[in-house]
């Protein structure tokens, strides 16, 4: 990695935050509210604590492998072929999540504002920007994200503050929702909202200071937890569960309820503007990570051609989904488990095995 492509603490935290926020805007609240009912807020606190515990384990496991990403680790474990396989798997995972999010957004935009515009046009317009941004380096995209994240965070906070008037505190009861078992046992699966942690396995080589890794991981988990909590809490208190858990875009519903005196009755479009920017930032970052992963596993030097190819692939995948129902089903069922598999399954397994291999080698040396 070239020295001028390194990123600092704030940039890294913002990368991790934008992933959470982008998913939070679209489908995450709906899934959690649907699964947990009135215990959603409590569940978020619970899974945030679990995420912190996992971060602690991650920091312990990463102690011996400073500066190495998941690809380096897989290469260390089973050689370059395994590294290639893992790289392709992660690229496929990123493409799947991006396509789902992209198509979902395009469908929502079509419903709200562009009823007569065909979906491919909206997708193409968005992907044109992503393709343009990928002409720049990963660092430039991350630098751009550093401006986008404060804007989005500010918008979320304003949204939360302006929603105060519509809160009905009684809606938090029963506090354990569908039961303690559902909240604390089945609810562990909701840790998929911290799917952004998968990028921790890719950030290591581009960090200016590897020793800030733990700080970055903890800060991102805590801030992500706060934002997820605030969003879920607000939605829980604002709407009856039937409405918030069945709405396609619960946060859009929240923005529609905001009024500023008699004069300004609808400000939802402004939040849509912010969300579009955050989505573009998210897509550009993930696409940059796809490109850098592909570059690493193939040693490709000229990435321009490949970047447009990946944009075209993403466009193709996004068009594969038949309708909104299919997207929602994939979001609610498949995305959650795939995200869990890649974030907390295979990545941790590789890291764990690398630690074991490292220990065996150390013992052999002695």
């Amino acid at each position: 990695m070239e020295s001028n492509t390194k990123i600092g603490f704030s940039e890294a935290v913002c990368v991790l935050l934008i992933v959470v926020i982008s998913h939070l805007i679209l489908t995450v609240p709906k899934i959690i509210l649907h699964n947990q009912g009135s215990s959603s807020a409590l569940n978020i606190i619970y899974i945030t604590l679990i995420a912190l515990l996992i971060t602690f384990i991650l920091s312990l496991l990463y102690k011996k492998f400073k500066g190495k990403d998941i690809l380096d680790l897989s290469g260390y474990l089973l050689g370059s072929k395994f590294q290639f396989l893992i790289g392709i798997m992660y690229i496929a995972f990123f493409l799947f999540t991006c396509s789902l999010l992209l198509r979902n957004t395009a469908e929502n935009l079509k419903t709200m504002y562009f009823q007569s515009t065909p979906i491919p046009y909206i997708l193409f317009f968005i992907l044109l920007v992503v393709g343009f941004m990928n002409r720049y380096s990963l660092k430039s995209v991350i630098k751009c994200n550093l401006i986008v994240v404060p804007m989005v965070v500010l918008a979320l906070l304003v949204l939360f503050i302006l929603s105060f008037n519509s809160f009905t505190l009684e809606r938090i009861f029963p506090i354990l929702g569908y039961g303690s078992g559902n909240t604390f046992v089945n609810g562990i699966g909701n840790i998929f909202v911290f799917g952004n942690m998968v990028f921790l396995f890719f950030l290591m080589p581009i960090l200016k200071d590897y020793y800030q890794f733990n700080k970055i991981a903890y800060t991102s988990v805590i801030t992500s937890g706060i934002f997820v909590f605030l969003t879920i809490f607000a939605l829980l208190l604002m709407f009856p569960l039937d409405i918030s858990s069945n709405s396609n875009l619960p946060m859009y519903l929240q923005t529609r309820k905001i009024t500023l005196g008699e004069f300004i009755q609808r400000v939802d479009a402004f939040f849509i503007l912010i969300w579009i920017i955050s989505l573009l930032s998210y897509l550009s970052i993930v696409m940059s990570f796809i490109l850098s992963t592909f570059k690493k596993i193939t040693n490709i030097q000229n990435k321009t051609f490949v970047s447009y190819s990946f944009v075209a692939i993403l466009f193709g995948i996004s068009l594969l989904y038949k309708n909104v129902i299919q997207i929602r089903q994939l979001d609610a069922n498949l995305y959650k488990y795939i995200s869990l598999f890649f974030t907390f399954g295979i990545s941790f397994l590789i890291l764990l095995l690398c630690n074991i291999k490292h220990k065996i080698r150390e013992k052999k040396k002695i």
Binding site: S3, N4, I7, G8, F9, S10, E11, L109, Y113, F114, I122, F125, I126, V129, F132, M133, Y136, S137, K139, S140, V141, K143, C144, L146, I147, V148, F263, I264, Q265, R266, V267, D268, A269, F270, I272, L273, I274, I276, I277, L280, S281, S284, T298, I300, Q301, N302, F305, V306
Partner: protein, 561 residues
């Protein structure tokens, strides 16, 4: 098929990046080669024969057709011997009184100095036992003329025609003497120049009322007066193989980053161009991202702003003939700063900075947002206002976007015409344009009153941008946002904002990020967009990587302790 295979194979081939990249914070300066290929070889040495030199000069200056080239031939008397000599200067560029009084007069007229006929020069003498012992050395005509016959303060010697010719074109006088292969160059510049005046574009209420003028030396002297430190270096260089325009690269030796200085010199010294006339042309030539309209340098007419930049660790470039200095590097936030900011209380300055920031956003986005809202997001407009807009637009035959574009073009026309016409008519043009045309357009139902309001507010906001180049950039950007808002509403505006942020993030000025100190996240060091009180401005910008990071003590107001 072969084409496809080739393109796939090429995609995996290494192609060296051809993008120029200089990063100040990483200290990755590598190239230090300076080479300019001149149009013609002027490295010819001065001949010992005055006749040959005279012919050479006459040919080079085309003296037969050049009316202002003055060549004065005369006999020079030195040690009672006569030598043929001539001076050459440009009428109007040199002070002829000084030439007559301090060059021709001592050289031509008889005096004690030039009538002694010994071939030896006494270095020292001593008297011992009534015997005078004299230490003598062989007479040297060059030294003798320089030491005894030219009573002028600024005389240099040159053996190369290159230097002689460029000095004469700058207003100096060259003296050639028979038998010696050295030319004497006397600095007798005496052309008419504008006196120091108050700034016209960057006016302030508190603070200096001096502005740069066209003369390079006057400008550098103003900088010296303000900085008042021996470490201020003013390096002279010339740009343009034909025009040889003088440029001064100014920096403070023990503050400014060496890599930054080297990069500025590297870019300026590696310009293979016939001529530059103004600092604007030089600005274009030393830009890294030449296709982007964003300014990479800060243009100022104020010596105090330039001096502040020098003291902050930046480099100032002054071009002869332009009453403007270029400050490098500059960030986006520097372009939104006014020279008044540092002269007033920080809270006043910050209030103005907020206003300017809002003005910038309005200037770029307002017409685009208006078009997007009226076309796609009508629900944002309060009901009463929506009714009012609809009723006012009922008689207007154009769509909102066309109406806004027409009004914007009309506004640009008024703006351009106001600048081009003579100043007494200029203000009238503005009033006629704004009031009569606007009112008439509304009465004729060509545009709606709300469009007039939108365009007027946008225009007003754009005038609040302190930097002319940035204001121009915003004016162009405005049309792009109108287009995006028309096609895709807020989606288009969002896309535009994101792309613009992406471009800004990737942009750099002389190795520093354009959005520094915020992106990438440097230690703001009290050098952010908003000003902290004077006593808290302890450090220089992190992004500049200066040699001296502190500019005041932790407790600067020691009288309080």
């Amino acid at each position: 098929m072969n084409k496809l295979i080739n393109s796939i194979v090429n995609a995996f081939k290494y192609t060296p990046p051809n993008k120029y990249s200089f990063d100040l914070s990483m200290n990755n300066m590598q190239n230090s080669e300076n080479s300019i290929s001149p149009l013609e070889d002027l490295s010819q040495s001065v001949y010992p024969s005055v006749e040959v030199n005279l012919e050479y000069i006459k040919v080079k200056f085309n003296s037969l057709i050049n009316s202002d080239i003055k060549i004065r031939e005369f006999d020079l008397r030195a040690r009672n011997k006569l030598y043929k000599a001539f001076i050459v200067y440009i009428d109007g560029m040199s002070d002829s009184k000084n030439i007559s009084r301090f060059i021709l007069h001592p050289l031509m007229l008889k005096s004690r100095a030039n009538t002694s006929d010994t071939d030896e020069e006494i270095v020292s003498s001593a008297i011992a036992s009534n015997i005078t012992v004299k230490k003598v050395k062989k007479f040297n005509l060059v030294n003798y003329i320089n030491a005894c016959l030219i009573p002028y303060n600024d005389v240099t010697q040159s053996k190369s025609f290159d230097k002689v010719i460029s000095s004469v074109t700058m207003g100096n006088c060259a003296l050639f003497i028979d038998t010696i292969d050295t030319c004497f160059i006397c600095d007798v510049k005496g052309f008419e120049k504008r006196s120091i005046d108050s700034p016209t574009n960057e006016t302030v209420i508190r603070g200096s009322q001096e502005a740069f003028v066209e003369n390079l030396r006057t400008n550098t002297s103003m900088l010296r007066r303000i900085v008042n430190n021996e470490n201020l270096i003013i390096e002279n260089t010339t740009v343009g193989a034909v025009s040889k325009t003088g440029c001064a690269i100014c920096y403070i030796k023990n503050i400014t980053n060496d890599d930054l200085i080297a990069e500025v010199k590297y870019r300026i010294n590696n310009l293979n161009i016939d001529y530059i006339i103004s600092s604007g042309q030089l600005e274009e030539l030393i830009k890294e991202h030449s296709k982007n309209s964003l300014p990479e340098t800060l243009l100022t007419e104020r010596p105090d702003t330039s001096a502040t930049a020098l003291l902050e660790g930046k480099v100032v470039i002054i071009v002869n003939g332009t009453p403007m200095a270029l400050i490098v590097p500059c960030s986006f936030f520097d372009l939104l700063a006014s020279p008044e900011d540092r002269n007033i209380n920080s809270s006043f300055a910050n209030f103005l900075k907020i206003i300017r920031l809002i003005a910038g956003i309005i200037s770029v986005l307002l017409p685009g947002l208006y078009v997007a809202i009226t076309n796609f997001h009508e629900e944002l407009i309060p009901t009463e206002l929506l009714f009012s807009i609809i009723s006012s637009r009922q008689a207007v035959p154009f769509s909102v976007e066309l109406e806004i574009i027409l009004m914007e073009i009309a506004f640009e026309l008024i703006h351009e015409a106001g600048i081009r016409v003579p100043s007494p008519i200029g203000s009238t043009m503005g009033i006629v344009g704004a009031l009569v045309l606007g009112d008439a357009a509304v009465s004729a139902s060509i545009v709606s009153p709300i469009s007039i309001i939108i365009v007027a507010i946008t225009g007003l906001a754009s005038f609040a941008i302190p930097n002319y180049s940035l204001e121009f950039h915003f004016r162009i950007l405005r049309f792009i946002f109108i287009f995006l808002g028309t096609v895709f509403g807020f989606l288009g505006i969002g896309v535009g904002i994101f792309l613009y942020l992406g471009i800004l993030s990737n942009f750099s000025s002389f190795g520093t990020s354009y959005l520094s100190p915020y992106v990438p996240c440097y230690d703001v060091n009290d050098n952010g967009y908003f000003l902290v009180p004077m006593w808290k401005r302890e450090k220089r910008e992190d992004a500049l990587n200066t040699k001296r990071s502190n500019k005041q003590a932790n407790i600067s107001m020691q009288w309080k302790q």
